[in-house]
Symmetry: C2
Subunit: 423 residues, 2 copies
């Protein structure tokens, strides 16, 4: 008998009818011989409603975090009771628990608490008694008994943490997409659902803007070796399994693919400091004040020194561009820079795949492909399993589609994906 932890998000439990749909999926999994623990989020819209009430009460966008967390936690508590009632109505034996009741102990960092330990005795007892266990996602309790929340999307983390604590065979995250795709199907209609992907690849794809899963949940799953599967709440299908590299590869399976997917990010802007003296500490001199202003920097490129002067380029979120430019301009004189300029009309394209570790030539094939389309590369940055380039934002679709084809990611049967839902 396998132990499965399933997680359903807010839109999957947004109405009583949808909760019934969830209950049927849960019961089907149990009927297939599994023990099932279900983690649910607040009904879609509920967290926003509660947040609005808090804003009205506190008359600020930042109500007191201890009270706000307690308030928001009621959203998931409502869902667990309703799902349990529906499960029982459909003939299943079920029991629900809040985060505090099931012993999800966190630190006291309200609104972004971290799970410290989980007491799995209750759940194991219920599972042994043949019950389906329903747990409120997103919430825990600190050592003083105050209710905490894990931050938006924290229900994924709850599910993975429970799966780890229970040594579950699989943690299934049900969403409004039916898996992880080679790239965004809205940009590349021939994008293909991946049957499996590694944690590292998923992290790179997620951090590059793929919103299927919380990064924290993926990190957590990787750390505790919890097999994670992304599936659709609304259609049947195998989804995408996220596993350790090479783990559980089926007998006779193909060689690991070179590239798992292509991510893009249109939210970045780049800034260049031209002609600064190439002396030790110059990078810190430029980026120190940026970091001090709490602006996150993504790519950093420094060109080779030419006559003792060097050029320095980095990217930030578009929202931070104006602040970053102000800081740079104020510093230009003390840095001895010739010029400071920037560009918000860029996009970042990234190839991600553990396969590129052992394959030469991925970078050159990438550059060739872009060149063949007449796309100029403005920046390049590489890591073990990722190559990112910055190009003019007008090339986002053209570049992504060309790379998708060049690395043979297109759906073999020529199917195209229709995208609906919340995006």
């Amino acid at each position: 008998m396998a132990l499965i932890v399933q997680k359903y998000g807010g839109s999957s439990v947004g109405t009583i009818e949808r909760i019934e749909n969830v209950a049927r999926k849960v019961i089907a999994s149990r009927d297939a011989g599994n023990q099932v623990v279900v983690v649910v989020s607040a009904m879609k819209g509920e967290t926003d409603r509660l947040t609005e009430l808090a804003r009205a009460a506190a008359q600020t966008d930042h109500p007191r975090p201890r009270e706000l967390d307690l308030l928001l936690s009621t959203g998931e508590t409502v869902t667990i009771t309703l799902l349990t009632m529906v499960l029982e109505r459909l003939g299943a034996s079920a029991r629900c628990y809040t985060g505090a009741q099931v012993g999800i102990r966190t630190d006291s960092a309200f609104s972004k608490a971290r799970i410290q330990e989980i007491d799995n005795r209750f759940i194991q007892g219920d599972l042994d008694a043949g019950r389906i266990v329903v747990v409120a996602g997103f919430q825990g309790v600190d050592e003083r008994g105050s209710i905490t929340t894990l931050g938006r999307g924290g229900s994924d983390t709850t599910a993975v943490a429970l799966a780890a604590a229970l040594s579950a065979d699989e943690c299934q995250i049900y969403t409004d997409v039916d898996g992880v795709y080679t790239t965004d199907p809205r940009v590349v209609p021939t994008a293909r659902r991946l049957d499996r992907i590694t944690f590292e690849e998923m992290l790179e794809l997620a951090s590059l803007g793929s919103k299927v899963l919380q990064i924290r949940a993926v990190e957590f799953a990787g750390k505790y070796h919890v097999p994670l599967r992304v599936l659709s709440s609304f259609e049947d299908g195998p989804g995408t399994l996220i596993t350790m590299e090479g783990a559980d590869m089926p007998q006779g399976s193909m060689e690991e693919p070179l590239i798992a997917g292509i991510a893009f990010n249109r939210d970045e802007a780049k800034l260049t400091v031209l002609g600064v003296p190439d002396t030790p500490g110059i990078a810190a001199g430029i980026l120190g004040p940026i970091a001090a202003a709490n602006i996150e920097v993504d790519m950093i490129v420094q060109n080779i020194s030419n006559e003792g002067l060097t050029d320095f380029t980095f990217t930030v979120h578009k929202n931070d561009y104006d602040r970053a430019m102000d800081i740079l301009r104020k510093q230009a004189e003390s840095l001895g820079a010739l010029e400071v300029f920037g560009n918000k009309s860029i996009t970042k394209l990234s190839l991600v795949g553990v396969g590129m570790r052992s394959h030469a030539g991925v970078a050159s094939r990438m550059f060739d492909t872009l060149a063949a389309e007449g796309i100029n590369i403005q920046m390049i940055s590489t890591s073990e399993i990722k190559i990112s380039v910055v190009v003019d934002e007008k090339y986002l679709e053209l570049g992504t589609r060309a790379l998708h084809r060049a690395f043979e990611l297109d759906d073999e049967e020529g199917n195209t994906v229709t995208v609906e839902g919340e995006g």
Copy 2:
């Protein structure tokens, strides 16, 4: 410094604006030098909304009680967080607790749990630190950690129980009326607000249909000698103090009044079994099957035996009348009754007052007054501090007003009360 427990019901916290009004009252009490603990209900309409969700999920009017209690408890949890946010915004230091967090331990009788003990350490610590403490009413936690509720209106009970546990100087119940009246001002416009009333009198008035306070809360307050005060959430005023008989009577106060108030109940119906053999066990033979059907019986009158036959009359809630009549008819033969009949067009009028204990003549003055108005008395029942009569329901207003005048309960200044609100 006095320690005051205040309780505000659902309509008093029905909107953010009303919660602000509550916060100002709480702060005013603190500024007057009191330590204040506030107990609040769910925002008006919230419990109904949650109950509807449960019905839709469970597709029955009786969802599973453990889950229903957990669901309903979220209503009060929302209110405590919002009130605390408002208090802090208005400059007061405050902290809120759910029933479980503050250690309100109950038995496991979901939906009608009884409080077993309260751990007052948290609250006392906060009060000592100068904080206002906000506690969710209506809810507690059983020994297994399941959330329980005390039943509708249980927030009054929470407030009284907290007041007892903290040895509070007064428990103030804020409602949409400004106190306890000599009778319903909608029937008798000259009804007068009572400055004080005894627990016993309040119990008799409450159980007779006066809906100001939960009976359980009054019993609790009486048992633990907690002075209870009923006040208006919406206007200033001293309200009505409910105390032990004779306790704290002000120096030079008037003699205890003969009658505290007049209650009436139009929700009862009477049933009569005529001409049954007057043998031992006949009352049990008639009422046993009624009780077995879970029908509550209020007044019971058996006439004197006449030629070995007796008449037996009792009252039940109008909603139970048809069921009770069915049961009686089926039994009539085995009981040897001559006839079974009933009447739903009745009302019960009751005089209540601890003063009648030591005064003869209350009953005769009551009967004389009704006779003078041509009102026929169908049943009479008496207790130490109460005399009840059943009359035709058309005499409800006439009878109540005549008695109110005869027992000198009219407002001395001839003021009449305007009644608004929920009734």
